[in-house]
Amino acid sequence: MQHITTDVLVIGGGATGLGAVRDLAMRGIRAMLVEKGDLTHGTTGRYHGLLHSGGRYVISDPQSARECAHENVVLRRIMPSYIEDTGGLFVTTPWDDADYGEQFVAACQETGVAVEELAVDAALRREPALNPKISRAFEVADAAADSFFAAYGIAHAARQYGATVLNYHYVVDMVRKGERVVAAIVEDLRSGEIKRIEAGYILNAAGAWAGKIAALAGVSVTVRPGKGTMIAMNHRMVNTVINRCKYPHDGDIVVPIHTVAVIGTTDVHVADPDVFGVTADEVTFLLEEGEKLIPGFRRYRALRAWAGVRPLYKDREVSSDRAISRAFKLLRHDERDGVGGMLSIVGGKWTTYRLMAEQAVDVIAQELGVTRPCRTHEEVIPGNEEGKHFWLGHNLSCVETEGSYGELICECELITREQVIDAIVAGGAANIDDIRRSTRLGMGPCQGGFCAYRAAALWDEIRHTQPAGSGARTILDQAPAVPVGVALLHHFLQARWKGLRPIMWGEQVRQASLDHLIYHDLLGIDLLPAELTHRPDRASRLVTEHPAIATEEHAV
């Protein structure tokens, strides 16, 4: 078994863990992060896409509202290129309590959430697709944020400060020496190697899985898994984030992000979080709620559905899940459980990831006797120096100025050959789903119909020209006896299919039938021998199946 030592080990490659490893490295602390899937594989890659202004929580959770309002300003400064400055509106529809608006404004003022009332006709001029029957509209600083690009950017920034960020490294056990956690046992899912990582301190940032990690270390952390479903519609009916002006509930926000508009979410307690799916009821519900905000919503083409699991930390006996604070909790296991060497950070929002990281790292730094202060709120993340927000036309204008039409691998999302190769070689993607996360390949209307074949072929070609260990690492690093391209293709099509099934009707059924024609009738993928289309053993664990999440039952 390989032994590795580091000052601090961070578990979890979501926004929180990544924010922490960057902060640690910037304070000069030797830090390492392990993530069992690809970065953003957890809740961070399955969220709603909203950089909160705080407006949503001003009444239900003022603490969270304050944190969001603060971080909204910070993130726009340090990582503007991952954020599209859409602005946000809270609108009162005929279904909403007409009095909520007054309370909302008062609470915004109290919590420091910038808000301004907009005349209804001005709101409708700005967003003509909105329900004309709205009675009030308030403008806030909501924005759309790409959690995938942000994660890769933060990881890159952390590495520049010397941090090590490892994906496909699964924590399988935690080692205690008496009353102190001293190491984690990690399986490298690519090579199958087991590694022992000794750390002066461990930060458990495993989100909804934090209970599992804690249990491995012999302490109890109860995370309530609350599933939330979202649907991406193939059209931006609005260019502003639209919220219902009411006490937070389900299906009350539409976020325009990239080429789609995403409606969400639901909140369902999941008893067995390993096998959950998006249900037909949830889909119907979301479409009908969408209809209230944007008449005709149901008639647009639904592209994809997915669900994320809220890492809500259950503190004491709170009666309902909605009553659990969205604010985060820092659990000092030394004070709480008498076990040293580990800190858990649970709850919170994507919007507050940096603040969560800062507070966690403050504690760790103190433990390690490091006095350097946090600078993550000041230092811009590399690639954001120009201070420009994300612009939807960016890819198209690149393709136009470079004249790279012929190089497009994914025509829906305008992803070029160069970007795909970069994701494979420099990005170290382990499968095509990883390429998707780092480029948006396969996220458009055809959901991989054309680009999956091309990406798989490029993959094989790179593997044939680049010896193993040169950076282009695949699922199996041992030189494969048979080409892996088709297996990756198969895997990717199946990964896309999961999120398509719940929203399959209308044009999307036709699209799927054309994709099926291509892969089945034209390419005959089903006629290839199984050893070409399916990778046995370990590789199958790298698929993006929804991993186990700690439940109350599981938590010790």
């Binding site: 198969h490 039938s513 034209l522 005959g524 050893e531």
Partner: protein
């Protein structure tokens, strides 16, 4: 007034229109766009079994409701005979027949069975031995020679993949299969490629190229390349748009027009007008303008789900888009699909189609004919078991031929 209207310009619609035009009618083909021809590889797939005739006999004996059972072997032969003679006349001959299948390599390196194939693909027949060279161009995103060769090799086929250099001065802004088809029509382009193939050939006796070897005279292109390279040359279908499919369509279009028919592509049929059990007229929509078309008889060849002839909604409704017929389908949306995208059984919803009697007239759940002057053809038909049987193009040709003959007989009576 045109006497008959064919809705749909896929293989089934085109075949029907040709039969009707040759029977002396003046068919009008109305279609929203082209059909599956532009998606598939231009081969005629009938059934996947190696012993095709045996397989057909079994389907006909055991599945009485299957369109093949209704058409019968001798009419299937007759339909394919007409197809073959059409293609020979256009100097784009097809080889094969209903006896046995031929296995051809796909753009993924899989081996796919087919009954009839263009002569330009004949040297891809896997029964022929010898080393294979698969060649393509970096510029063509829809064909990856190394992937194909590696997968063929993994199945025990001696194959090698390589990229050719795009001949000088041929830079374009974008490269689609169509761009290449146009380039291959130029003699000097062919000569350059042929010479490159000659150098690269080595021990290979056969060379597979993407199916982009010209639109107008592909056989000539293949012959030129064979002469220059010294090996047999064959086409492998690429991702859509399919050049072999385009060739088929234009040959049909010319024949239909020459026989007195008319093609109107870009017109979606949106509703119908009927009196009792006869359909009187159709309304088509193009560029937001509605047009009324009267006729005595109609062929519904709208291609099922993939062709856009059948639509679905989120409440589980399934209907035909041209005439508005409600269709039977699996109970709820949850039953429409399998959990695996490429699962063996295929997806029930993709089999949705219009139930007909033995003459392919649409019937309701009581078994009564809905419109006596309408026949259905191709993937719009129910009960074709298309995903299991890989039969969409064969079924399109045969059912198009058969339905049109039936309609012609009914109108004459």
């Amino acid at each position: 007034m045109r006497d008959v209207i064919v809705i749909g310009a896929g293989l089934s619609g085109l075949m029907s229109a040709l039969v009707l035009a040759e029977a002396g009618y003046r068919p009008l083909v109305l279609a929203r766009g082209y059909g599956r021809t532009h998606w598939l590889g231009g081969t005629i797939d009938v059934l996947p079994q190696a012993d095709l005739r045996q397989g057909l006999i079994r389907v006909i004996e055991e599945q009485a409701q299957h369109p093949y059972a209704r058409i019968g072997l001798s009419d299937m032969e007759a339909a394919l005979k007409r197809f073959r003679s059409l293609m020979v006349a256009a100097r784009y001959p097809y080889v094969g027949g209903l006896e046995r299948n031929v296995w051809l390599p796909t753009a993924l390196g899989a081996l796919r069975p087919t009954a009839l194939l263009p002569a330009t693909m004949a040297a891809g027949d896997m029964r022929l031995g010898g080393e294979l060279l698969i060649a393509g161009f970096h510029e063509l995103r829809d064909f990856f020679p190394r992937l194909i060769a590696a997968n063929l090799q993994a199945q025990g086929v001696d194959a090698r993949g390589l990229y050719l250099t795009l001949p000088h001065g041929r830079r374009r802004r974008e490269y689609t299969p169509r761009t290449f088809a146009e380039l291959f029509e130029q003699r000097d382009f062919r000569e350059d490629v042929g010479r490159q193939l000659g150098y690269a050939r080595g021990m290979a006796t056969r060379i597979g190229l993407p199916a982009v070897l010209g639109l107008e005279a592909p056989l000539q292109v293949v012959q030129d390349l064979q002469q220059l390279s010294g090996a047999q040359v064959f086409e492998i279908p690429t991702l859509p748009p399919s050049i072999p499919g385009m060739r088929l369509v234009s040959i049909f279009e010319r024949a239909i027009t020459a026989a007195g028919g008319r093609m109107q592509i870009g017109s979606a049929v949106v509703r119908a007008e009927h009196g009792g059990d006869r359909l009187d007229a159709l309304y088509s929509e193009a560029a937001a303008r509605e047009q009324r078309h009267e006729a005595r008889g109609f062929v519904l060849a709208t291609g099922g789900i993939a062709g856009g002839g059948i639509q679905t909604d989120y409440q589980g409704g399934v209907w035909d888009t041209a005439l508005g017929l409600r269709l039977q389908s699996p109970a709820g949306r949850a039953e429409w699909f399998q959990s695996g995208f490429l699962q063996e059984l295929g997806h029930p919803i993709f089999e949705a189609g219009i139930t007909t009697n033995a003459r392919f007239q649409p019937i309701n759940c009581m078994g009564e004919v809905i419109f006596a002057n309408v026949v259905v053809a191709g993937s719009a038909l129910a009960g074709r078991d298309g995903q299991q049987q890989r039969n969409s193009s064969g079924l399109a040709l045969c059912s198009g031929w058969y339905a049109a003959h039936g309609l012609s007989g009914m109108l004459a009576a």
